[in-house]
Symmetry: C2
Subunit: 336 residues, 2 copies
C-alpha cells in the first residue's frame, strides 16, 4: 500500500482509477474540467494509494520553485524574526515555502559569503531583502529572482521597497522630547552608513530645525544591547550634559538605561529616553520605554504581498511607507 521507499506515482493512480495520467493530473489541479465520473474515480484512487504530487517534478515542469528566500541580517535578532513571521503568513496562504538565509553568518572564505549561489531562479521564485548592507552587485545578474526590499534598503538596488516611516518616527520622537522641554538631545544611531539611521537622522534634524535648533549630536551604536550600554559613558562625557536621548532601536535604549543605572543615574529624571521599534521587552524594562511602534509582522506581510504581486504584473518600483506611532511610557519626562 504505502511503501516508504517507493511512493505512488501519478501512473499508479491512473492505473487504479482506469484513466490516463493526463486525466489524473487535471483532476487534481483543475477538477472542473474533468467529468464527475473521472474525478470521483481519481479521488478514490488517490485516497487508496496515498498519492501526493512530487513537487520537484511539478516545479521542474512549471519552471518554478514554490519558495521565497528571505535574506536576513541576523536571524537571532527578534526584530527580524518577527518580520519573518509576517512573511511566512503570507507565503503560506499562497502555498509557498519560506527559505531563510542569515547573511551575518556568512562564509568568510567566499566573496559575499556564498550568498550569490542562493540568488538563482532555480532556488527561489523571489527574494525579500532585509539586509541593507549587501553588495548590490549580488543581484545584478539575469538569473536573480524578482526581489523586494523590506525594512532596510540598498542604495542602487532596484525593486519595490516596503519601509516603515522612519523619518516621521524620528520626528515624532523628537517632537515629544521637545514638548517636554528638552533642548539638548542626542541621537544614538545604528552604524553610520545604515540606511535606517540616515533617514531617521533626517527626521531628527528636521524636527529640530522646525524648533529653530541645530542638528542633534550623534553617537554611533550598532543596534545592540552592548553598544547601548557602551554609549552611556560617551553620553556622560559630553558637556554640557544632554538631557534626552533618541535611540535608533529599543535594544540600544535598554542597554543605555542599564549603563546609566550602573552610573547611578535615573531615567527619566536625569535623562529622558526614546527608543524605536516597540519590541515586546520594552514594556517590561526597568523603566517602561517610550518608543516608536513599528508593525513588524505587518511589514513582513506587505513585503511578501508585494513580491507575489510581481508574479503577475511586473509592478513599477514603488516604495510603500508604513505608518509608525509614538508609544509614551515612563522613560520620558519633563525636563527639570
Amino acid at each position: 500500500m504505502t511503501d516508504p521507499t517507493n511512493p505512488p506515482k501519478i501512473r499508479d493512480v491512473a492505473r487504479l482509477a482506469g484513466v490516463s495520467v493526463a486525466t489524473v493530473s487535471r483532476a487534481l489541479s483543475n477538477p472542473a474540467i474533468v467529468s464527475e465520473q473521472a474525478r470521483i474515480a481519481v479521488e478514490k484512487a488517490v485516497a487508496e494509494t496515498g498519492y501526493t504530487v512530487n513537487l520537484m517534478a511539478r516545479n521542474l515542469r512549471q519552471q518554478q520553485v514554490g519558495a521565497v528566500l528571505a535574506l536576513v541580517p541576523n536571524l537571532a535578532n527578534p526584530f527580524f524574526s518577527e518580520i519573518l513571521a509576517g512573511i511566512s503568513d503570507t507565503l503560506r496562504a499562497e502555498g509557498l515555502s519560506l527559505l531563510v538565509l542569515d547573511t551575518l553568518r556568512t562564509d568568510p572564505d567566499t566573496p559575499n559569503g556564498g550568498i550569490r549561489s542562493y540568488l538563482s531562479r532555480s532556488r527561489a521564485d523571489g527574494v525579500i531583502v532585509l539586509d541593507g548592507t549587501l553588495d548590490p552587485a549580488l543581484f545584478a545578474h539575469g538569473s536573480c529572482p524578482p526581489l523586494v526590499q523590506a525594512c532596510e534598503w540598498i542604495e542602487g538596488l532596484a525593486g519595490p521597497r516596503v519601509l516603515a516611516d522612519n523619518e516621521t518616527g524620528a520626528r515624532l520622537a523628537i517632537e515629544h522630547l521637545l514638548g517636554l522641554g528638552h533642548r539638548d538631545i542626542v541621537h544614538l544611531t545604528g552604524p553610520a552608513k545604515n540606511t535606517l539611521s540616515i533617514s531617521r537622522a533626517a527626521g531628527v534634524d528636521a524636527a529640530l530645525a522646525t524648533a529653530g535648533l541645530p542638528p542633534a549630536h550623534r553617537l554611533e551604536g550598532a543596534f545592540t544591547l552592548s553598544s547601548g550600554r557602551a554609549a552611556a559613558e560617551a553620553l556622560l562625557a559630553r558637556t554640557p550634559r544632554p538631557t534626552a536621548v533618541f535611540c535608533d532601536n529599543d535594544e540600544m535604549a535598554i542597554g543605555l538605561m542599564a549603563g546609566l543605572r550602573a552610573e547611578g543615574l535615573d531615567v527619566p529624571r536625569d535623562f529622558s529616553i526614546v527608543g524605536f521599534d516597540n519590541i515586546e521587552m520594552s514594556a517590561y524594562a526597568s523603566v517602561p520605554l517610550t518608543t516608536i511602534r513599528q508593525k513588524r509582522a505587518h511589514l513582513g506581510r506587505c513585503a511578501a504581498e508585494r513580491l507575489l504581486a510581481q508574479r503577475t504584473a511586473p509592478t513599477p518600483d514603488e516604495t510603500l511607507i508604513l505608518p509608525v506611532e509614538l508609544v509614551i511610557r515612563d522613560s520620558t519626562a519633563k525636563r527639570v
Copy 2:
C-alpha cells in the same frame, strides 16, 4: 550572452566547450574524473555563458530537495530564532537550504494547520521539529522525511533528540537557591503539558528531595513576559510567602520582576529569582538575572548535524543531551 528570460542550459555549455552534456555534468560535479583538457574547456564555457545548474532538474534527477524544514513554534521568539541560526550554519556548510515553518501561525481551517502538506519527501530532505505540541500522527506516514527533535520533544514520536540537560539545569538552579538559604521555592513553569517543564519539574523536586524538602509549589505560565508578570499576583497571594522563584525561562523571569517591582517589592531582597536560557536581555534587566545558560545556536547545529548523519547511516534513536550551566548574577541573594 546572458539572457534573463532564457538562461543557458547544460547543452549550451556542452556545445560551446565541444564536449557532450555528460562530460559537462561530470566536470561540474566531479572534476577529478574528466581530463584536464575537458575540464578547462568546460570551465571556460561555463564562465562565458554564465551557466549555473538548474537545481530543480538536478533535484528531480537525484531524488532530493536540497533543503531541510524546521518546524518552529514561534518564529518571533528569539529563543527559537537563535536555534534556527545554528541550524542554518550547519546546513549552509553542506550547501543545503533552510525552510522554516511557523507552527503557531497555523491555518485554523485545516486540521493540523496545513503542516501535513509540508511533511513530504518532495518538499524537504529532512525535518527538525522544535515544537513539542504537535500531533505525532502528523509524522506517521511513509512520505515523511527523516526527522530530528530538538529542544522540545513529542511523546510517542520516534527519531533522535537533541536536548538541553533540563533536569540538571533545574537542579543547579534549586541547589543554588538552597545554598542561599531558601526553603520555600516556587517553580514558575511553562504550560503544564510542556515536556520541558515536566523534565525541569523532575529536576526541581529531585534537588528538593535530596535536601529533605517536599516538592515545589508550581505556578503555570506560558513562557511569555506577560504570563511572568501575571504570576506576581499569584505569588504574593501565597502564605507563607515564598522567598524564591525558579522560572522556566528568562522571559517569564523578567516579566515576574516587572510585576513584583510594580508591587513595590525588591529583587533579590524580597525574592530571589532564577531564570532559564540566558537570553541576551537577561544581563541587561533592571536586576541582572541569575539563570541557566543554554547554548542555543550550538543546539541548533547539533540537531542539524544529527539529521545529516541520518542521510548516510540510519542512526539509532539516540538522545543527545547538551550540558547547561548556572550563571550567577544579581537576582539571587542570601535569604534574610
